[in-house]
């Protein structure tokens, strides 16, 4: 499972992070080192083991809202309590 330059480009694209071409090889090496080290998890017998996701969970309910001015107060661009986003449909 070697991470090559093509994989780094694909993952960076998925993560929406522009990585300059000159960083790709170095990143591939770094990620390879980390992922190779992580491979040791394969040694652990997890047969019949339930994944441990979260220890507690309650109902997810809305507790606040109805205040668009506050919600948009940190927006890079906003008009009349709407977020202004770049045009995405021609």
């Amino acid at each position: 499972m070697a991470i090559d330059a093509a994989t780094v480009r694909k993952v960076a694209r998925l993560a929406r992070i522009a990585e300059p071409e000159e960083r790709i090889e170095a990143l591939a090496n770094e990620l390879n080192g980390i992922m190779t080290w992580i491979e040791q998890l394969a040694e652990v017998d997890t047969e019949g083991c339930e994944p441990l996701t979260s220890v507690v969970a309650a109902d997810d309910v809305v507790t606040m809202g109805g205040d668009p001015a506050r919600v948009t107060s940190n927006a890079p661009k906003s008009v009349g309590n709407f977020f202004v986003v770049p045009k995405v449909v021609e």
């Binding site: 694209r13 980390i34 992922m35 040791q40 083991c49 309650a58 507790t63 940190n74 890079p76």
Partner: protein
Amino acid sequence: MSALTKMTLKAAVDGLAKGEFTSVELTKAHIEAVEAARGLNAYILETPEKALDMAAKSDARRALGDAGPLEGAPLGVKDLFCTEGVRTTACSKILENFVPTYESTVTSQLWRDGAVMLGKLNLDQFAMGSSNETSYFGPVTNPWRAQGSNKALTPGGSSGGSAAAVAADLCLGATATDTGGSIRQPAAFTGTVGIKPTYGRCSRWGVVAFASSLDQAGPIAKTVEDAALLLTSMSGHDPKDSTSLDIPVPDFTQFVGKSVKGLKIGIPKEYRVDNMPAEIEKLWADGIAWLKEAGCEIVDISLPHTKYALPAYYIVAPAEASSNLARYDGMRYGLREEGTNLTEIYENTRASGFGDEVKRRILIGTYVLSAGYYDAYYLKALKVRRRIAEDFDNAWTKCDAILTPTAPSAAFGLGENSNDPIAANTPSRPP
């Protein structure tokens, strides 16, 4: 340097109650100490006007006989806790100008109980790091030096600003957070007291998210009693955090000073790592001897999956981080960079707004969650996490508490552990 800043939180709260000094006097002394210690870079935002205003109101409340448990005590806040009207950055460029319109539950409870905010404390960017060197605002310097050396040391991380501020008497206590050691390791590196409470004790609402199934708030303090005081205020059920524990909060200070006689203390053999420095080995042996003297029974235990904890963490935490940090897209808040189309705006914003360590972890997280790898990595790590939890469940049938070193080394020099992805894989790095 005023004697007012040298006090413990408990002594200060008692002194205020007796009328020996006012909160305004106490707060002024701390503001001066903070200004005099700017070289440490512990505070990335000082809020002296707000502090004096809160202190004056505290004194007024006390005059009316309406004093809370932390009434008038000046504290520092890790810049991962959202504070209403006060810039909150997670020490990142992408949130450099973010001003929350709401207050985190944990800090709101501190203010409810009368505390005063001195400012916002430095941390590793998005709490990712263990030396405070990934901060967009530069590293923090540990107020301590090694014996016979003047080399600048790290205070640890990610709560490096909190730990350094408490150690240097720049506040009476501080909030912190811990995902993979970010309270415990900096507390160990600065001779302060830190506790990562049970998950769910302190609400995560209003705390900038890193890895939600691991993130937990807690205090860094000068003494165990001070930590108990702070934790009592910070804890409690919060309907706004779906993982918040709905159980009563004890007054943790009531446990301080009680005898430990008869307790069984487990010593896990797997924590005896190779190349452990002699000084750490000695501290551990001293701790065992002290507990024996106090009447504890020392028992050998085994936590067989210990060596897999860090690689499992290195999948779970980045996976959750890659999801959590997807929100920083430059549209609703935070930095927005230019681009010729929407995707390019996202990519440029995130490339410019995140530091290298944050990007590295997002890439790892994205990779382990991507099609074809989810089961092999993420699911596997969650199963290993179950095995690790089972180790502890087994241990609790043999002992009441476990004694281990907090970190495998003492504080290291600034610059000795930064930006090396392989060093990133050594146990001193990951929080």
